[in-house]
Symmetry: C2
Subunit: 336 residues, 2 copies
């Protein structure tokens, strides 16, 4: 039986491991001894029963030796250092399909728009791997681990990346769509977390579904403005990895980014929120990067700018909301 590698045993890495275990053996890399023991002995992790053909290891070289197909799924902040750890063992025959929804920057103090990269660019920069793809879609980990049905998109310029990924992921409860636009899928997947934070804020303030519908519409428009500025087509934003992922993440209390917004609305600071959550919400970093990109290209993205001010400059929620509600948009859809 084929063996597939997963780098990272967070919620989504674990959910993907359990999906792939239907079709192939799985070898998961984790640096956490407790996690490894829990997976290998109890077959239980992230509050879910795991299939017995999922084995965990702390030996990253072993993953590259036993698996040609590897899914790196680690937080964006750690992605580059993880790549530096694994890259001595990677060869051009490896296929990497990542599941990280964020941007990456070198850990500098004063990041500019030019220091910000998509995750697939980091893979290209740090390794000899050519065949790269990404996973993106409405994929709340908790629901996947419960066995609920859904779908994802594998985006890659390489047909064989999509074929190989589909072969191991597809099942009766998990549809796999394909797209050749990895750039758009990565940008949409990262930016939707900003709208998910806003959505949590509306929910925490007990605002209704009408305003939420407006947020989704305007939020999607802002995502597309970013996409166009960064050279992406608008198609990926209108599909499963765009609207699909957006409305799911922005409506689910199981989404970490939604939860951040909810706590913000209840008066907690970002520092307090980071302390109570076990995994950092990607949107907190993403909105910082998005602000830099918006400034560089002069984008009209008022929701993104307000979320930035709320999260990173302690700006008043009610002032932000007042500003956004009374903003006069003459045109409804301005990107086509």
């Amino acid at each position: 039986m084929q063996k597939v590698g997963i780098i990272g045993a967070g919620s989504f890495g674990t959910a993907v491991s359990n999906l792939i275990a239907d079709n192939a053996d799985v070898l998961v890399y984790s640096r956490n001894e407790k996690t490894i023991e829990s997976i290998n002995k109890a077959h239980f992790h992230k509050e879910a029963k795991l299939q017995s053909n999922i084995i965990a290891t702390n030996d990253i070289e072993r993953i590259t030796k036993e698996c040609n197909l590897i899914f790196p799924i680690v937080p964006s902040k750690n992605f580059r250092s993880m790549m530096r750890d694994i890259s001595p063992y990677l060869r051009p025959y490896h296929i990497l399909i990542h599941g990280t929804k964020g941007f990456s920057a070198d850990n500098q103090e004063n990041i500019t728009a030019n220091d910000i990269y998509r995750i697939s660019q980091v893979i290209e920069q740090e390794s000899s791997v050519v065949r790269i793809g990404c996973l993106s879609g409405p994929n709340i980990s908790k629901e996947i681990l419960e066995g609920q049905p859904t779908a994802t998109v594998i985006a890659s310029q390489f047909r064989e990346v999509i074929t190989e990924g589909k072969k191991v992921l597809k099942s009766k409860r998990f549809q796999v769509y394909s797209s050749s636009d990895i750039r758009g899928a990565e940008i949409a997947g990262a930016l939707k977390n900003i709208i998910a934070i806003s959505s949590g804020i509306l929910s925490g303030l007990k605002l209704g579904h009408n305003l939420w519908g407006l947020l989704i519409t305007r939020g999607l428009t802002e995502m597309i403005h970013f996409g166009k500025a960064l050279g992406s087509d608008i198609k990926p934003f209108l599909g499963v990895a765009g609207i699909g992922d957006l409305v799911t993440t922005a409506s689910s209390q199981n989404s970490r980014n939604f939860t951040v917004g909810y706590h913000l609305a209840k008066g907690k600071s970002i520092k307090e929120i980071s302390e109570i959550m076990d995994e950092v919400a990607e949107g907190v970093h993403t909105v910082l990067f998005a602000k830099k990109i918006a400034d560089k290209y002069g984008l009209k993205v008022p929701i993104t700018r307000m979320v930035y001010k709320i999260v990173h400059e302690d700006y008043s929620l009610t002032d932000a909301l007042d500003y956004l509600i009374n903003l006069d948009y003459e045109h409804d859809v301005d990107y086509l």
Copy 2:
């Protein structure tokens, strides 16, 4: 002070009356004596306190004499007969902005696609009025009546219709966008109710947010296929009257169409559901019309076809769901 007419004192008619009462006096037409008394004496209707400058009457001629700007907001099934009642009193100087989200057909036994009209077409057919518009957006009545903020779109080919409508509707809690594409706004507003029924079904079956995100994405795609077949641009589907209205209606338990789906999932028949609900859900009629249109143009709209079979042919929910989940879509976004 200007006086604005509203035809119909259902939930949405009442919500619009209360919004307009901020900017103008309101005269509401109803055939129900109890409703008229409740509005005129108690200033209370649809579980909401109404402003005191809202007066109700059962004299439809009076509306046309005292108001140049009239908002007909009655169920699609009654729209044509209402137009036949009012049309002897309408003159070309009247402006009509309707708020009905459905299609209209003459009450025949065997409806074909050629008997189906948009609401603005019915106004054109039945009266001498030229300046016609429609309201469309994320506008759950209950939330508007609670004073929650939101926005709508006024769509019309006539600039003055938009200007006049905006003047009486716009407030700090109600943004008004404009669009010249009334055809698209009407089609999107009608079809989204089919997806809202599906959404209620998923909720009743306790399926998660991942699958819901997929439903919204594929549902929007189907709406756009209909729109293109009926000669509309895709823009209205991607704005406030499209995605905005769709995600709101499909996520709110205060939406009648969502409620129909929810009860279907709990095993109730359409007949039983109609008996417990005080206003008929538009989507039940819309899906019948949509099926005729899909057949005429040979559209690939599997969700719509399944909702039709469930609602009108008593088809098994689990079979429908199995079919849809395992449907192989190669392309994610196929309308651009």
